[in-house]
């Protein structure tokens, strides 16, 4: 593993800017713990073999910015390419601003030094490239699309960081549209702080491609605020998302709904945590994985209700479809409850497509292929039931349909 450390975080001279001290501190922590390996509980199903095999030689010939996809809904688009944003290229809605991150923005004490589990978050800080802060202090109706791409020839490692601050009574719809490219590493950190009574709708549509795509996200939800995430992952060579939602005050709400549609040799790992720190609070989580060919899907959904967080309620269910003999799914709900007057339900199923349903569809005229696709789509799309109908939902579902 230290070889990987050498390649990704060599003991070279780091840029001396306002972040120099933070980077040194992060580098130290990283060297202490190293990267996760097979015995690291939270990484045991996700070998980093792919990373070990890559040289991260450099960024190669950078091509032109890929054309932005046409979006059937009105949005402000921020483009991040190979880990970099050109702020002049974006016209943001009123009530929002995008500025460079400064060292004081990073709350080091709040970073969890959790052994090798958070190694990549520490790596992000140790090798921090561009850091950005998006501040929202109004109820912004128009979605902001963060279009994140990577060159096909990309073979380096980038570590972008985004902080989002949503002021009290404000609202943001952030659509993270991410598509990977070349055989490099895109190692991002997202830090969201939500003010009282604020709302965030976070839509993530992700296809890692050949890029190793790692994201470590933390969301802090204040009193009366609500965070909702909807994730659609089409799979990639190696994708890992850690998402921690911390319900920090009374009437905070959090919801995570995701689906991963995996084919070929995709390996996708979602580790989510929803923490109830103070009651009353509510959370809901639903996650579905469809795995075909030789793909592997990993899901770990943790709900933590700390002592004193009475009147907390959470609901989690996962559904998993194995579509081929060599597909693999590892799914685990985790409930850790220390408070009173709590309801916490969880359910997990792993199965195959229903033959009765398939026959029924075929008996009405659909071919086996069409019937199978319809059943897969139906299974996958169910996670978006709570997303209000409209152009954004239509767009997300259309993309999902093309993958099912």
């Amino acid at each position: 593993m230290s070889e990987l450390l050498e390649r990704l975080a060599p003991d070279d001279a780091l840029p001396s800017d306002g972040f120099a001290e933070l980077r040194r501190h992060a580098q130290k922590i990283l060297m202490q713990h190293g990267f996760p390996h097979r015995k690291t509980e939270n990484w045991k199903y996700t070998p980093l073999t792919l990373l070990q095999q890559r040289s991260f030689a450099g960024t190669g010939e950078m091509g032109p910015l890929p054309a932005a996809p046409e979006l059937p809904f009105d949005a402000a688009v921020i483009r991040m390419h190979n880990g970099e944003i050109d702020p002049s290229a974006t016209k943001l809605p009123r009530g929002t601003s995008l500025t460079g991150l400064v060292a004081d923005d990073v709350d080091v004490d709040a970073l969890v030094a959790d052994g090798p589990n958070d190694a990549f978050a520490w790596l992000n800080l140790a090798r921090l490239g561009q850091g950005w802060k998006l501040v929202v202090d109004e109820r912004v109706e128009r979605p902001i699309v963060l279009l994140t791409t990577v060159d096909d020839a990309f073979e380096g490692a980038v570590h972008p960081r985004l902080h989002v601050e949503i002021g009290p009574d404000s609202a943001l719809t952030l659509v993270s549209l991410q598509s990977g490219g070349g055989a490099g590493l895109h190692n991002a950190v997202l830090d969201v702080r939500m003010g009282e009574r604020s709302k965030m709708l976070h839509v993530i549509d992700r296809s890692g491609g050949d890029t190793v795509w790692i994201e470590h996200a933390t969301v802090r939800v204040a009193a009366g605020a609500s965070y909702r995430a909807f994730v659609s992952d089409a799979g990639g060579a190696l994708t890992r998302q850690d998402l921690r939602v911390s319900l920090d005050a009374p009437e905070a709400r959090g919801a995570i709904h995701g689906v991963a549609t995996l084919t070929d040799r995709a390996l996708v790992d979602y580790h989510t945590t929803i923490e109830h720190h103070v009651g009353p609070s509510q959370s809901a989580e639903s996650f579905r994985i469809l795995a075909d060919d030789r793909a592997t899907g990993v899901f770990n959904g943790r709900i933590l209700i700390v002592p004193g967080a009475d009147d907390s309620h959470s609901e989690m269910n996962t559904g998993n479809l194995l579509l081929s003999e060599n597909a693999r799914i590892n799914t685990k709900p985790e409930l850790e409850i220390h408070a009173e007057d709590v309801t916490a339900s969880h359910g997990a199923t792993i199965g195959q497509l229903d033959d009765d349903a398939r026959f029924y569809l075929r008996s009405r005229g659909l071919s086996e292929r069409e019937a199978t696709a319809l059943l897969k789509y139906g299974f996958a799309a169910a996670v978006f039931d709570d997303l209000e109908p409209g152009p954004l939902a239509d767009w997300l579902l259309e993309r999902l349909k093309a993958r099912a």
Binding site: R362, E368, L374
Partner: protein, 254 residues
């Protein structure tokens, strides 16, 4: 339209149909009655082409085509429709979307133009009205949360939209109260046509009061053992299926 000759069918290695013969002409409605275990559902599933129903002997010819050669969706495109005894719930698959996709898949297979969504919705709404079903059901997933009666009526809605040439109703009346039964019968009767035939598989006679079939057959132990007109159904209603044993005993004794 349909000719079944000496049909033997095995399910899970067990022979259920043991030499069934049946001939159905265009525009005719045939009722098939029989005690439990006689093979009624097996006949329906075999006609529709479900996996696990193996034809070991005999032939089924539908409009001149050998049915055994056709996949379930090909049989549908050829004009066959099976209304299931237990319609399947399919969460996540929208009712209207599925029905339109099915109709267009069939039309495409037949070289016909696809139906646009406006025309389709109009046709479906009409059928829903006739069967006194709430339009809201169109927005739900297929049969999800439907009552037993609604599921059966949904089968008739599908039949009305897909316009089959041969409709097989597998115990469509089971689990229905008298009002739902009348609605279903009305829906079926509206579809009667010189170019359309029906096979009504049923355990009880009461549905036949409303449908008035041309022929009634009795299925027992995998074969048609008696055929007649409506009076046969009335006789079964009065005497039950016991007379079949007498008939068998007579035949054995003779």
């Amino acid at each position: 339209m349909l000719k079944i000759e000496n049909l033997h069918v095995e399910v899970d290695g067990k022979e259920i149909l043991k030499g069934l013969d049946l001939e159905i002409g265009a525009g005719e409605m045939h009722a098939i009655m029989g005690p439990n275990g006689s093979g009624k559902s097996t006949l329906g599933y075999t006609l529709a082409g479900r996996d696990g129903y193996e034809i070991t002997e005999g032939r089924i010819t539908f409009e001149g085509k050998d049915l055994a050669e056709l996949e379930p969706e090909e049989r549908a495109a050829a004009g066959l429709f099976l209304a299931l005894q237990y319609p399947v719930e399919i969460p996540g698959v929208n009712n209207a979307y599925f029905l339109r996709a099915a109709l267009n898949a069939q039309r495409k297979a037949r070289g016909e133009d696809e139906v646009d969504s406006m025309a389709f919705l109009k046709a479906v709404r009409e059928q829903l009205k006739v069967l006194k079903m709430d339009e809201a059901l169109l927005k739900r997933a297929v049969n999800e949360g439907f009552s037993g009666g609604e599921k059966k009526r949904n089968e008739i809605v599908q039949m009305a939209v897909l316009q089959p040439r041969l409709a097989v109703l597998d115990e469509t009346d089971s689990g229905l109260d008298i009002d739902a039964l009348k609605l279903v019968a009305e829906g079926v009767n509206r579809l009667r046509d010189p170019e359309r035939s029906f096979v009504v598989i049923t355990h009880y006679q009461r549905l036949l009061d409303y449908l008035e079939p041309d022929h009634v057959h009795v299925l027992s132990d995998g074969r048609i053992v008696e055929s007649g007109d409506r009076s046969l159904a009335e006789r079964l209603e009065r005497e039950g299926y016991a007379f079949l044993d007498e008939g068998a005993a007579e035949a054995a004794g003779a």
